[in-house]
């Protein structure tokens, strides 16, 4: 039975929460009702990446890219496109610049992307191993077992130049080589899927959309280093990813791609899932391994590195989801092919979760060396409100803010570090002039205070002290010497904290003090130019502009605006909670924010 047409429905967490599953079911029901169930295959795929416009539905072979689809649209999609061959133009993505309805390949969001890690996301049904295999799946494993052998795998990885995507960028081949060396009765392979940066969801989407790519790579690693056991450590808040991973493991076992004597090679390897409780620090590899062992998720000093002495004291390769997902392709197409992508020091692509004040938020995968400007303006479509770009935070709470003057820096591990930020796992949060850097710095410091494991004193106490000081500054209670204190504690943290979380925790604060010192000084002098810091803002009404429409008074949640048509309105500052509602609703710009 051959299908003539295919409907792909995004089954990523974002679209699922916008009723993608209802759309999927309705499409099935409609196909059945309208008698075309045998002609069209309806598939739920992984994330398309274009989360801003979800739920996404794509029809093949027409390449129709429908956005913001609702379950009620299913009837029309079946009736019009599947039966009559006519695109439902009202659902097509509409280009901002010319209001034209366009197809996938023309969409700006996808044009500069290069999808290796996300190669199968939005294309295959992640719950069907055959679809993965049909797209070159498990060829890498086959080649590893029968063609490359252990030496060959390491050689290809070395040629590829692949570096760990979890943050530090350690060459993957070298890590494997370290674990391969020692003789040990047991070794382990671990997938770090404990994604925890605020706003980051690359790893979740990769597993949701293409779980086999991780399983295949881990199996190759097990073969290469001589391990028979693997663990995927994934946070329990990712139920869909966990479910798909479970299905994938089951199917791989059924196909002889996991378990005893894989593909008749004599090599045996199996994978277990371990759920994390959501502590950010468990993304730090030593804490993660402690957690798998059943201990408190607290980092332990390195060296020895896990590659030498990891899980239960045995050599352990631990890579993050994105790193794993690259490996099957490298083995299938060769390390040389991969090495052609990217920059001198950073090969391949990087997936970013693009969020914040950006028009096209979503998952984007770009070659290393792409500039921030290309990501934000060409792919992301620029700032949502049309306001001025303030900065972009990469690396989440461990990173720093990158300002407009560096928008044209090609992004790779080294360039981001030199800008005082870091690659991190790939969260990219765009801020505009309505955002306040001091407030942002407070947000990240609060995150670090909450997520500090409490083991080492610099991080446990230092983050809390820094948070207190930044908070004081946002309230207008800061003093000039507080900036010195922040830098002093920040320095001690960077140098003396035990793990990466603590060492990088001051980055958001230190980088904003460096780039926006004047903004901090303004706060110390009692003003917040963005108006984000409520304690530094007062709302008032310009009597000359007020026409007495009473809209602000009606909207005010605490009833602190009074007046009449004739007398105009005034705000009782003593009661005002600075919610900004009056400012937002006034059509005459009569409400002033200072």
């Amino acid at each position: 039975m051959a299908y003539k047409q295919f409907i792909l429905v995004c089954g990523g967490t974002g679209c699922e929460s916008s009723k993608a599953d209802d759309i999927f079911k309705e499409l099935h029901a409609q196909a059945e009702a309208q008698g075309v169930a045998k002609d069209v295959q309806i598939v739920k795929t992984g994330c398309f990446g274009f989360c801003e416009k979800g739920p996404i539905v794509k029809v093949l072979p027409a390449e129709s890219f429908y956005v913001e689809v609702k379950p009620a649209d299913a009837k029309e999609i079946i009736a019009e496109q599947i039966i009559k061959g006519r695109e439902v133009t009202r659902l097509l993505y509409q280009d901002d610049s010319n209001a034209k309805r366009i197809k996938t390949e023309e969409i700006g969001f996808y044009q500069k992307q290069y999808r290796i890690v996300l190669r199968n996301c939005g294309i295959i049904n992640p719950e069907n191993i055959d679809e993965y295999i049909a797209r070159e799946g498990y060829i890498g494993l086959e080649k590893a077992l029968f063609e490359y052998k252990q030496d060959g795998v390491i050689a290809e990885l070395k040629k590829s130049g692949l570096r760990g995507r979890g943050g530090a960028g350690f060459p993957t081949w070298r890590k494997w080589e370290f674990s391969r060396g020692p003789v040990s009765d047991q070794k382990y392979v671990v997938c770090n899927a404990d994604e925890g940066d605020p706003g980051a969801y690359m790893d979740r989407s990769t597993i949701e959309g293409d779980p086999h790519s991780v399983l295949e790579a881990m199996t190759v690693c097990g073969y290469t280093i001589g391990a028979s056991k693997g663990f995927v450590y994934i946070r329990a808040e990712y139920p869909l990813a966990i479910e798909r991973l479970k299905i994938a493991i089951k199917q791989a076992r059924e196909y002889g791609l996991l378990g005893d004597n894989i593909l008749g090679s004599g090599f045996s390897f199996d994978i277990e899932i371990r759920l994390g409780a959501g502590a950010f620090v468990c993304g730090e590899e030593t804490a993660l391994l402690q957690s798998i062992e059943g201990n408190r998720g607290m980092p332990i000093p390195r060296p020895p590195f896990p590659a030498i002495k990891g899980l239960w004291g045995k050599p352990t390769v631990i890579n993050n989801v994105e790193t794993w997902a690259n490996i099957p392709v490298i083995l299938t197409r060769g390390g040389d092919w991969f090495a052609k992508i990217g920059t001198e020091t950073s090969k391949g692509t990087k997936v970013f979760a693009l969020t914040g004040k950006i028009k096209n938020s979503g998952l984007v995968e770009v070659p290393m060396g792409t500039t921030l400007r290309e990501i934000i303006y060409d792919i992301g479509g620029g700032i949502k409100s049309g306001k001025k770009f303030l900065g972009a935070q990469t690396g989440g709470p461990s990173g720093g803010i990158i300002t407009a003057e560096y928008l044209d820096t090609p992004i790779d591990y080294e360039s981001l570090t030199s800008l005082g930020s870091m690659m991190g796992s790939g969260g990219l949060i765009v801020m505009d002039e309505d955002d306040c850097v001091v407030d942002v710095s407070k947000f990240y410091m609060e995150f670090c205070v909450d997520e500090s494991c409490g083991k080492c004193s610099p991080c446990r106490i230092g983050t809390a002290q820094m948070h207190d000081i930044v908070e004081k500054i946002t309230k207008g209670l800061g003093k000039l010497e507080d900036l010195d204190k922040l830098e002093k504690i920040g320095h001690a943290l960077k140098r003396a904290a035990l793990c990466g979380l603590g060492q990088t925790a001051p980055n958001p604060t230190l980088s904003t003090i460096k780039r926006f010192r004047e903004v901090y000084l303004e706060h110390i002098n009692g003003t917040c130019r963005s108006g984000k810091c409520k304690d530094l803002v007062t709302y008032s009404i310009d009597k000359n502009k007020c026409i007495g429409c009473s809209l602000c008074a009606r909207k005010c949640p605490v009833n602190c605006i009074s007046g009449s048509k004739t007398e105009k309105y005034t705000i009782d500052a003593s009661k005002c909670i600075k919610c900004g509602e009056c400012f937002a609703v006034c059509k005459f710009s009569a409400v002033l924010k200072k």
Binding site: V449, S452, R460
Partner: protein, 584 residues
């Protein structure tokens, strides 16, 4: 061996040597706070940071092994600045009540603050107001003072395998607490006090009872109260450390003098009771081993923390336990019965104090009704070595230069066998010296059983008594016990012959000389010196076997009758009961 440079000076050290240890060999004592010689590096405090060439961050000297070609800088202005900031941060979470703190003067944080010249606290004080736990009446847990160095947790879990203390909460809310957040007394705690001996600050310390003793001494003059004191074997070689003497310095007779000058009416020596214990326990062993009456192996019971542990974790071993009381409790019972009769003192008017190297002894003195065998509480108050040192200092007594006096008769004189109770293997050695005699009615030519001595965690030996091999094992430091007992359990379960006939167990590393109530700063080096001090006392003793103690013979003749006889059982033996690990 690996070659490296520290501050530009070449150094060659064994593979695996940490930067901290290598630097110490070059006379650089890198400041540190959480690190302790007994424990694997926990790497929490962040004070021992150093720079290593090519490493972008500072590394912790405590846990970084030296690698070939490493170039290390242990101090420069930046390193000192970072360390100072970290200390200031720690102080911002620490109460400022040094003057009322039990660790004032011995506090490692206080010392660091002084060394780094901390003159102001730049950061906001952030205290939690956490409650103090005094539930054990033995140890005091004050989490407010805790600096989260992790030593107590590691000691309790890894060294002692007790698991009574744990970190709870995360981030800034992290606190040390009894496991499961119950009161310390309601959990697995065995009161060994190793947590208090390792705590660098005043977060865990012994319940101070010196005032109760001062109060009693006051009444000894005015209200016809007789204050009797005993000192344990391990006190005599460690107390001197509090007064500037090297570890292991034997000052028994100066301590007797000091106790009299503090106001005690009668000074006895627990070593005498140790000799008594050997007669009782030795006889018990012979009954089981030769006559087959009772379970083998016989396991020693003079360590109260071990008794607590066994009742909670190995209650199936209760039949193997020696029913002989510990020397402290035997002495307590004898003071308020035999001696009270002899001296014609009303036992109700006796205040009995013991000076112990141990915190668990405080708990033991009220453990069950057997500890009231005289009809009164046999031992009224137990002071640790540290508490006695404080009393001597309060009294202004110049301990080091005191004249030497003897203990009182008849329960003062002791043998070498009694004194070695204070060291690991000592009880076993003392028992073997007398067991040989009890079986053969002959004395050993060489009383030294060196196979059971020394600091290694588990020691095994075979002793031939007239053609029969006695297999013995000695274990110390609670965490080493499981291996021994699990082998016994397994053999019993399989119906095989048990691997040993006689087992000595001490909860603390090194035995009582390393007890939880001893002067701070015990390392294996210090422990060995203390052990040496104990054995020097043995060697110079007139009598080296308990059964040779003429006063022991006298008390049996005059009062007790036969070892393990009716009266002895009444006063000198006890019983054990299974205890829940968590009582709530």
């Amino acid at each position: 061996m690996v070659n490296a440079k520290i501050n530009g000076i070449p150094v060659q050290v064994a593979h695996g040597t940490t930067i901290l240890d290598a630097a110490a060999k070059m006379n650089i004592n890198i400041p540190k706070l959480c690190y302790n010689d007994d424990l694997p590096a926990w790497a929490a405090c962040g004070i021992c940071v150093v720079k290593v060439e090519k490493s972008p961050k500072m590394l912790r000297a405590c846990c970084t092994p030296i690698e070939e070609g490493m170039s290390i800088i242990t101090h420069d202005p930046e390193i000192v600045q970072v360390r100072k900031t970290v200390i200031e941060l720690i102080l911002s979470n620490h109460p400022d009540d040094c003057l009322q703190c039990p660790r004032s003067g011995s506090c490692e944080l206080q010392t660091l603050a002084a060394d780094f010249g901390i003159r102001e606290q730049p950061f906001t004080k952030r205290l939690k107001g956490l409650p103090v736990d005094t539930s054990t009446k033995t140890l005091v847990l004050n989490p407010e003072k805790c600096i989260k160095c992790g030593r107590c947790v590691k000691v309790c879990q890894d060294m002692q395998n007790v698991w009574a203390i744990e970190f709870l909460g995360r981030g800034e809310k992290t606190r040390i607490a009894p496991a499961a957040d119950v009161a310390l007394a309601d959990g697995p705690c065995i009161k060994c006090g190793q947590c208090s001996a390792h705590c660098p600050v005043g977060a865990i310390y012994e319940m101070d009872q010196t005032q109760e003793v001062w109060n009693a001494l006051m009444k000894s003059g005015s209200e016809d109260l007789t204050c009797v004191v005993q000192i344990a074997p391990a006190v005599r070689i460690a107390l001197g450390e509090e007064f500037g003497l090297p570890p292991g310095t034997l000052i028994t007779r100066k301590i007797y003098t000091a106790l009299r000058r503090l106001g005690f009416d009668v000074v006895f020596d627990t070593n005498f009771a140790a000799d008594l214990t050997i007669l009782e326990e030795g006889t018990e062993f012979i009954k089981r081993f030769v006559e087959g009456k009772g379970e083998l192996p016989l396991i020693t019971s003079c360590c109260p923390a071990w008794v607590d542990y066994m009742q909670k974790y190995y209650p199936d071993m209760i039949p193997n336990f020696s029913t002989a009381k510990s020397p402290q409790q035997m002495m307590g019972a004898m003071i308020k019965t035999y001696w009270a009769d002899q001296a014609k003192v009303d036992k109700k008017k006796i205040f009995s104090v013991s000076i112990m190297p141990c915190t668990a002894k405080k708990h033991e003195s009220g453990r069950n009704k057997d500890m009231y065998s005289s009809g009164e509480r046999d031992v009224d108050v137990v002071l640790t070595t540290r508490e006695l040192a404080r009393m001597i200092k309060q009294a202004g007594i110049d301990l080091v230069n005191l004249p030497e006096e003897d203990a009182d008769s008849p329960m003062g004189p002791y043998t070498g066998a009694g004194t070695i109770f204070g060291a690991t293997g000592g009880v076993m050695e003392a028992a073997l010296r007398s067991a040989y005699f009890l079986v053969t009615k002959e004395d050993l030519k060489d009383v030294n059983f060196t196979g059971v001595r020394g600091i290694s965690g588990i020691k095994e030996a075979r002793v031939n008594i007239k053609g029969t091999d006695v297999r013995v094992a000695v274990a110390h430091q609670m965490g080493n016990i499981a291996e021994v007992l699990d082998r016994v359990r397994a053999a019993k379960a399989e119906g095989k012959e048990v691997p040993w006939h006689f087992i000595e167990v001490m909860a603390c590393r090194g035995g009582c000389i390393g007890g939880g109530g001893q002067p701070y700063g015990a390392t294996d080096e210090v422990r060995q010196l203390r052990i040496n001090g104990i054995y020097s006392d043995d060697v110079k003793s007139t009598f080296r076997c308990s059964h040779h103690n003429p006063f022991i013979t006298k008390v049996y003749q005059e009062f007790l009758g036969e070892p393990n006889g009716h009266k002895a059982h009444e006063l000198l033996h006890t019983h054990y009961e299974k205890q829940p690990i968590y009582s709530k």
